[in-house]
C-alpha cells in the first residue's frame, strides 16, 4: 500500500490509463441503464456519460488536456468508424438502389436545410461570427465536422461540442416527434435522423428498428460527403 494515497492519485490522475478506464466504465454503466429503461430517449448514454465525466473532471480539478490524454484512444476511432460506414452501405446496396431517388432528394434537401437553418438562426440571434462558423457543420459526424471547421479556420473543439449536442437532441426527439406526426415508414424515419443527427442519431435508430438503422447509417455517410462540399459554399453565401 502506498505510504501516501495522495501521491498515488497524483500519479494516476496524470496517466492515460485512468481516463480511458473512466470513459469506458461510465459509458458501460450509462448504456446498461439505458437498456434497463428499455432504451428510453431521455436515458441517452452519450448525454449522461458527458455530464458525469465532466462533473468528475471539475471535482478533481483535472484539465481537459489531461483527460484527453486517455480518451484520445476512443476519439481516434471516429476516423476508422467513418471508413467502416462503407460496409452497411455495401451490404444494403440493393435496398439503397431501390430507394435511390427518394434518398437523393431527401439527402440534398436535408443537408441544405441542416446547414442553412443553423447558419440563419445563429445569425438571427446575433451569435458572433466565429461561433456561427463553428456551428455550421453540426449535423455531420464529429471527425468530418471538425475537419470542415478546421478548413474554415473556425473552432474545431466548439464544433465537436455542437456536433455531440445536436446528435443527442436528435436522438432524444426523433421517436416522439415521428410518432406524433404519424410517420410509419422506417426508411424515411431512419434517413431523417441520420441526416439531422449523424452517428448518435444512427445509434438511436438501430435501437428502434433495424431498417431505420441501416437508412440512418447510409444518410450519415452520404451527408458527410455532401456537407463537406456544401458548408464552405453556404458560409461564403450566407455569413456576413
Amino acid at each position: 500500500m502506498s505510504a501516501n494515497p495522495f501521491s498515488l492519485w497524483v500519479y494516476l490522475s496524470q496517466s492515460p490509463l485512468l481516463w480511458l478506464t473512466v470513459t469506458l466504465l461510465v459509458y458501460a454503466t450509462t448504456d446498461a441503464l439505458s437498456l434497463v429503461t428499455h432504451r428510453h430517449p431521455l436515458a441517452n448514454p452519450v448525454l449522461h456519460s458527458i455530464w458525469i465525466i465532466g462533473a468528475f473532471l471539475m471535482l478533481t480539478g483535472t484539465s481537459y488536456t489531461t483527460y484527453f490524454g486517455g480518451a484520445q484512444f476512443v476519439h481516434f476511432l471516429l476516423g476508422p468508424a467513418t471508413v467502416a460506414l462503407a460496409v452497411p452501405l455495401y451490404e444494403n446496396r440493393k435496398v439503397v438502389a431501390a430507394a435511390i431517388l427518394p434518398m437523393l432528394a431527401a439527402l440534398v434537401v436535408g443537408s441544405v436545410t441542416a446547414v442553412v437553418s443553423v447558419v440563419l438562426l445563429a445569425e438571427a440571434v446575433g451569435l458572433p461570427r466565429a461561433v456561427v462558423l463553428s456551428l455550421a457543420p453540426k449535423s455531420v459526424t464529429a471527425g468530418v465536422a471538425m475537419g470542415i471547421s478546421e478548413s474554415l479556420h473556425a473552432d474545431p473543439s466548439l464544433t465537436a461540442v455542437a456536433v455531440v449536442l445536436t446528435g443527442i437532441m436528435g436522438a432524444i426527439i426523433v421517436t416522439p416527434l415521428m410518432n406524433r406526426i404519424g410517420i410509419t415508414d422506417f426508411r424515411a424515419r431512419g434517413f431523417a435522423v441520420g441526416i439531422a443527427a449523424h452517428g448518435i442519431g444512427t445509434a438511436r435508430a438501430f435501437q428502434v428498428d433495424a431498417v431505420a438503422g441501416v437508412f440512418a447509417g447510409i444518410a450519415m455517410s452520404l451527408n458527410a460527403l455532401v456537407t463537406s462540399l456544401l458548408v464552405p459554399l453556404a458560409v461564403t453565401l450566407l455569413v456576413r
Partner: protein
C-alpha cells in the same frame, strides 16, 4: 482481425494522402469510405481480390464491431464542453435553442422530402 483493421486504416490513410496532396475540400475519412466501398464492389467482380481481410467477412465484421458502439466514440469530444464553460455561460441558451430548432426543422423537412419523392416515384411507376 488485425488485417481487417489494417485495411480500414489503410483506406483512411490513402484518403488523407489524396485529400492533403490534392488540397480537396473534404475530410480524409470520407474519401477512405469511398475507397473501402469501391474495394468491396471490386471484390465481387474480380475473384482475385477476395483474399485476406476481403474474404470470409473479415473487414465486414471489423467494421460492424466499430459501428456497434458508435455513440461511445462521441463521448471524449462531448466532454470538451468543460473547456467551453465561459461560452456556455455567455451564449449557451442561444446555441442550444438554435441547435434544437435546426434539428427539428431538418428532421421534418428530410422525412417529408423522402416520403413525397417515394410517393411520386411509385405513382410514376403505376401510371400507364
Amino acid at each position: 482481425m488485425i488485417a481487417s483493421l489494417s485495411l480500414i486504416l489503410l483506406c483512411q490513410l490513402a484518403g488523407e494522402v489524396i485529400v492533403r496532396g490534392l488540397g480537396l475540400p473534404m475530410p480524409g475519412p470520407v474519401v477512405g469510405l469511398l475507397f473501402l466501398l469501391l474495394l468491396l464492389l471490386a471484390r465481387d467482380r474480380f475473384v482475385a481480390l477476395a483474399r485476406g481481410p476481403l474474404q470470409q467477412d473479415g473487414v465486414e465484421n471489423a467494421s460492424r464491431g466499430l459501428l456497434a458502439h458508435l455513440s461511445l466514440l462521441f463521448v471524449p469530444a462531448g466532454v470538451g464542453v468543460v473547456q467551453k464553460l465561459d461560452l456556455v455561460a455567455e451564449h449557451g441558451i442561444a446555441v442550444a435553442v438554435v441547435l434544437a430548432i435546426s434539428v427539428v426543422v431538418t428532421l421534418l423537412v428530410t422525412v417529408a422530402t423522402f416520403l413525397v419523392a417515394s410517393r411520386l416515384m411509385s405513382r410514376g411507376r403505376s401510371a400507364p
